[in-house]
């Protein structure tokens, strides 16, 4: 990367830390530190909600998905707008009215302290580990693509984020998130413009998309009802609805964002921003990946986008095999480019028969390229022993650093840093809140001054920053297993959601019902995940329904000893 790009990334990091630290004046009491005194405007909260959800691995992973698999991943978000409406009508006003700091605090209002503590500990466990992965995953990619030391990259992401989150609290998190969201959108938009301008003469955007469509990259909606298929219209709409209800309604990292809004309606409007914008934004990011695919139809891509794994194979006993595959790959690329140009030419003439014939020829060439890439991937897996290896997450950063002009590279790398830091800051902030409010202030030290709790809150934020960075260093060595760990957190959402459904959905649910329902739901999710191959999106439905059924049965058998009504 050019020195100017490094300067842009460095300037971005300094600016973000400075901007975050400027917010420390609002953090002179616990409510200000964790909830900004419930004073923030809806649009700032809406942007921080979106920035929190969009981690760096979402940004680079989604563009990579667009490149390798097309746009069907967009279906993952189909349940989000419905979830936002349901939450605005149900949990959001309940949280506001109860004046809680954490979502789990509400469970004590409704049930008992055991349910609250268990839910909070589940959050701390899953999010504490996942925050490490959120740092590790982009750090591994950036360190490989930029040729930078891995541990230093982890520190480069984790340290500045910890500093401004620790001293500035939620004000720093929110206002830096606002700016980071702008950096992300500008970065992605700049990439799209560059890709369009980078198409060869005579190939328009419509032509590029048409060829990408022939290669199956523009399939957006799959109406098949198949529980084993990860991304379909139904898994996105139903499974995604439960996932988003759990994520935005029961995960403190999101709940805390909208609890900072200055009114119930401001909180609701902040969620509506995601409801309106999220699907189009994700479609744009996926389309960026599709355009990278179209770009590489006319430029030579690497056979594999992870240079470290490639080097390992080239240094192994099977190097000759890899070299032979690479030669085949180059020939297949040339044939594919000719076929792509033929398809574009046929489209410009407008003869339907010629277009169909040219598209069929292109598809055949594309299949040849894909088959060689799959062979190369298998070879990497066999040589490195990393059976889950895939280079999808390396596609976009490799494109950026090798194809874009100086200056733009720095901007987009800064956008990837922004995506990572905005998510991590919200995680640290919410981990600290749950630790202090649900554990320390509730169980360990119940009668201290606000000043004491504020001091502890800052120390706990710092602790989580160090802890997650250490987890990141270890997680970075998991290789492609990181992806699995990253999905692990979603195993909890359905069960947590089930408890909140019991809380606000029925009068009959009792504290023992909620507690045992939560335990039963977790067991059901683990059992189904271990014994079936259904898409993980459906596990959210399983968890929520299991908690509700077990919770209601226990509530009937074992009524609460206190008055629940």
């Amino acid at each position: 990367m050019h020195i100017i790009d490094w300067l842009i990334v460095g300037a971005y990091l300094v600016w973000i830390v400075y901007d975050g630290l400027r917010r420390t004046t609002g953090a002179s009491a616990v409510e200000g530190y964790f909830l900004a005194n419930r004073s923030l405007p809806w649009w700032a909260v809406g942007l921080t909600v979106m920035a929190t959800q969009m981690s760096a691995i979402t940004l680079v992973g989604t563009t990579g998905q667009g490149y390798a698999d097309g746009m069907r991943f967009v279906q993952f978000y189909f349940g989000l707008p419905l979830a936002m409406i349901i939450l605005s009508l149900t949990l959001v006003p309940f949280f506001y009215r109860a004046k809680v700091y954490t979502a789990y605090e509400y469970l004590e209002h409704r049930f008992d302290v055991r349910t609250r503590t268990l839910a909070s500990l589940l959050f701390l466990l899953s999010r504490g580990l996942q925050a490490g992965v959120i740092i590790a995953a982009p750090a591994v990619i950036l360190s490989i693509v930029l040729g930078f030391d891995l541990t230093l990259t982890i520190v480069g992401i984790g340290l500045p984020t910890t500093i401004y989150t620790m001293f500035g609290g939620v004000q720093a998190v929110t206002w830096t998130d606002v700016k980071q969201m702008v950096v992300i959108v500008v970065g992605v938009s700049a990439a799209v413009v560059s890709l369009v301008l980078g198409l060869p003469d005579g190939v328009g955007v419509g032509d590029a998309l048409s060829v990408a469509g022939a290669a199956g990259r523009l399939g957006t909606i799959d109406f098949r009802f198949d529980l084993n298929e990860t991304y379909t219209f139904w898994s996105g709409l139903i499974g995604g609805l439960f996932l988003m209800l759990g994520y935005f309604g029961c995960d403190q990292s999101q709940v805390q964002r909208y609890l900072t809004a200055k009114s119930v309606d401001a909180g609701r409007h902040s969620l509506m921003m995601s409801a309106f914008v999220k699907i189009p934004l994700q479609a744009l990011i996926l389309l960026t990946g599709v355009l990278v695919f179209a770009f590489y139809l006319f430029q030579t891509p690497p056979m594999l986008f992870n240079p470290v794994h490639e080097s390992e194979v080239r240094a192994s006993a099977r190097a000759a095999e890899y070299t032979a595959l690479d030669a085949e790959f180059q020939a297949a690329l040339e044939a594919r480019e000719v076929a792509a140009r033929d398809a574009v030419a046929a489209r410009s003439i407008g003869d339907a028969t010629a277009v169909a014939s040219a598209r069929a020829a292109f598809v055949e060439r594309q299949q040849g390229v894909t088959a060689i890439r799959e062979q190369a991937t298998s070879l990497v897996r066999e040589v490195t022993g990393d059976t889950l290896y895939t280079d999808v997450n390396y596609v976009f950063p490799t494109f950026v650093t090798t194809q874009l002009p100086v200056g733009l590279v720095g901007l987009i790398i800064a956008a990837i840093f922004a995506a990572a830091m905005s998510s991590i800051a919200a995680e640290l902030n919410s981990l600290s809140t749950a630790t202090v409010i649900d554990v320390y202030r509730r169980h360990l030290r119940t009668d201290a001054t606000d000043r004491h709790y504020l001091r502890v809150s800052k120390m706990v934020t710092g602790f989580w920053g160090v802890f997650t960075s250490i987890v990141a260093v270890y997680a970075a060595n998991l290789g492609s297993l990181i992806e699995v760990v990253n999905r692990f957190g979603s195993f909890f959402y359905g069960s947590l959601l089930g408890v909140f459904i019991l809380a606000v959905g029925t009068r009959r649910a009792t504290a023992p019902g909620a507690l045992w329902g939560l335990v039963g739901g977790m067991a059901a999710v683990i059992y189904v995940a271990a014994t079936s191959s259904i898409s993980y999106l459906w596990l959210n439905v399983v968890g929520a329904l299991a908690v509700f059924v077990v919770g209601m049965v226990v509530s009937f058998i074992w009524p609460s000893t206190t008055a629940d009504l």
Binding site: G70, M71, V74, F78, P81, L82, M84, I85, S88, L89, P93, F94, Y96, R97, A98, Y106, H109, R110, G206, L209, S210, A212, G213, A214, G216, R217, L218, G219, T220, I221, V264, D265, R268, H269, M272, A275, F276, I279, P280, A283, R359, A503, V504, R507, T562, A563, D564, L565
Partner: protein
């Protein structure tokens, strides 16, 4: 303890048009995505 604490919140009629707009926009976006993929021959 009351169910839920402090009773059910007041319904927010002012938000209803926004919710309807969200649903309409989602329907339009999904249709656009579907049309987009059909047009480019996915």
């Amino acid at each position: 303890m009351t169910f839920p604490p402090d009773g059910f919140p007041e319904p927010g009629p002012s938000m209803t048009p926004t919710y309807v707009a969200v649903l309409v926009v989602e329907a339009v976006v999904l249709l656009a995505l579907w049309g987009f993929s059909q047009y480019f021959g996915a």
